[in-house]
Amino acid sequence: MSSRRPPRGEYIETDTGNKVARKATLVGTQNIILGGKTVIQPDVMIRGDLVRTIQPASQSATGAAPNNTAVSIGRYCFLSRGCCLRPPGRLYKGAFTYMPLRIGDHVFVGPASVVQAASIGSHVHIGAKVAIGEFAIVKDYVRILDGTVVPPHMVIPSFSIVAGQPARLIGEVPEGGHEAFELRDLYRTVGNNPQPTPV
């Protein structure tokens, strides 16, 4: 975070191009990784403090430094106003632990949605007021319509369009619909120096 920049404007713009609203709530920032060019709008909440407490067996055996990433987000993601990202938690070998939440590139999270998935792929559009249950796995090029409730542990394969409570497959993303997931243009339209939407 470039602290030398005068602290003005609605957003903090980092060297890697992240635009983080001053009114966003990020708990445990040291455990949140942003890939760059990601927009975090006001009133977004990210729970980086819910870190994994049990390390996988392979890592503890090799003595590697524990990986404390709770939430990792790729490039060109867009977290709309009021959404909440939090790592999923479960009992593992009789003890409770949180597990990391991984999000790919070009992921749009709609307003007031709550994401507790294990992983979200790339090019995923999550609508408004969506609840994604714990340990759900959402693959690439998936569209989750407004108000959907994705049950815990559900797997949503690539090119699915899902909706409903609980989520069910209602269609497939057509071949020509891949480009609509790109968020580069949307990225430019927010921040302290927003650009108009390109034609």
Binding site: G89, P151, M154, V155, P166, V199
Partner: protein, 584 residues
Amino acid sequence: MAALTPYTYIQCPCSDSPTLGRPSDASSPTSPEPDEDDRTFDPRAPRSNYSLYPLEYLLYCEDCHQIRCPRCVAEEIVTYYCPNCLFEVPSSNLKSEGNRCTRSCFQCPICIGPLAVTSVETKPDPSLLAAPDNTATPHSGPYALTCSYCNWTSTEVGIKFDKPNGIHAQLAKLRNGGATRMTAKERKERRKDPAFRAAAAAAIGSREQEDLDLETQFANLKMFYQNQLAHPNSADTGLSGLGDLGFSSPTSLSRIMSLYTGGGLQDKKAKSRVGAMREALDPDEGFQLASLDESAAIAQLQAETLDDTASAAQLLDQPPNIGEEHLYGRGRFASELRPIPYLLRTKRSKRCPMCRHIISKPEAKVQTTRFRIRLIAGSYIPSIAIRPLAISSGSSASGPAVPGALLEPLKPAHYLLTFKNPIFEPVKVTLGAPSKTPGRFASKVTVLCPDFEIDANTDVWDEALRETGERDREKERRRRRGEDGNHNNNNNHNQLEVGKIWERGRNWVSIVVEVVPASLALVAGQGPLREDEDVLEIPMFVRVEWEGDAGGDEVGSAPGGDKEVREKRELAYWCVLGLGRIRQ
């Protein structure tokens, strides 16, 4: 009334020409059908429902130079996979399992949420927090399938499993309530057992017939008739002609069997055989007395509540033939429902229906999202974006400034249509729209500039520069003028003028359409307003012309076949612009 975002649907040519839009005459490639010019496409005609698609759904055949829609392409399955475990399923085991996953992937019969294997009666995991990682945890059985959404568990229908894996195979042997069910193989082996034969012989004649489930009954019937075909009863040779028409004749029987069992049973020799055959007589031959006594079900209905009965949707989701007898379409109680093995999904390639060239082909691997071939219409034909335009230049002109606002009847409104050219050649666009929209409520439509050119899409460098030189880009934009109409009222360039382009950019052009929405006041004698009749939809005929490299390979190319020759191309199609709803 819900707000409506403007949309553009494009009509696939497959819907109205028997040639699927293929040029029938070599001398005039892609000329529209002669009657097309006389007739205005009606977007509200019932048939139109099936031919209108958003641009993303359309593909494009490079050989036929024509748009292809999901309805006219020929699909071929590349890969079958389970949407839950994402494992590829070889096509050899598809049919026997009814296109379902045979691993441990199940859906909840109550809410269709995913089911997870959890251990019951033993310690740790409350199902909500448990993941099915059975190798790591020292669980001991029994196990059950549990829904993480509605908390249904297979113990509710009396099903528990000994092992946490291979659930599909275990479930095939279990009936609801926990009773075991024999597989066909076991049944066959049992028949060989002399002790069982003696018991069965004793049971014959009594009402206590063996209960068969659908699969076993069908297998038994099939075996019985196959035997019949192999050893026909030669006693009756008289009325061969009549016998051939009945169900018990060998020829019709083998025909029916090949229908239901997918061929392979057509016995060549059967033709020569004649005579009727006997019917199945006992359970081993697939004979099953229909159970017409429903008193038990009636008693249960009286004893239980509505919650204990299965809904029609739940019964429809039930897979056929997975063990429980006669459940399919006839179940009544939630206690009869069974976990639903996930239906497989496919990756499909698509072929042009005319030239059979592949126009879309995904990579076969389940986990990759790449395509080997993906010829989408969006990279060949201009996209059309619609935006309401608020101007106050003319005193009478006004439009909804807010997108999604209702259109005022009889008050002119303006919309900006932005055409974006995806190809590397400049294109000439000619628009044709009826002056009045079809339907009961005719709105007036004026396309201010129906004839214009769009520059080529030379975006290779531009895309790269956009990343770094955003400031330059901004300057360029400003040079081109701002992005919104109402900033530019003083600008002479942007006055509403017939025949003038509103705005143009690198590979796009904006033009203005003026509409005068009809009044939705109903005249006496007319029916009530039908669904979506208040939506203002404009049918528009788009003709795109450009000069491309003449390819010598396709049918109907210019004679001479010289690669250097530039060939004139033309593509014409109907589209529908949905602008908004009219205030009632």
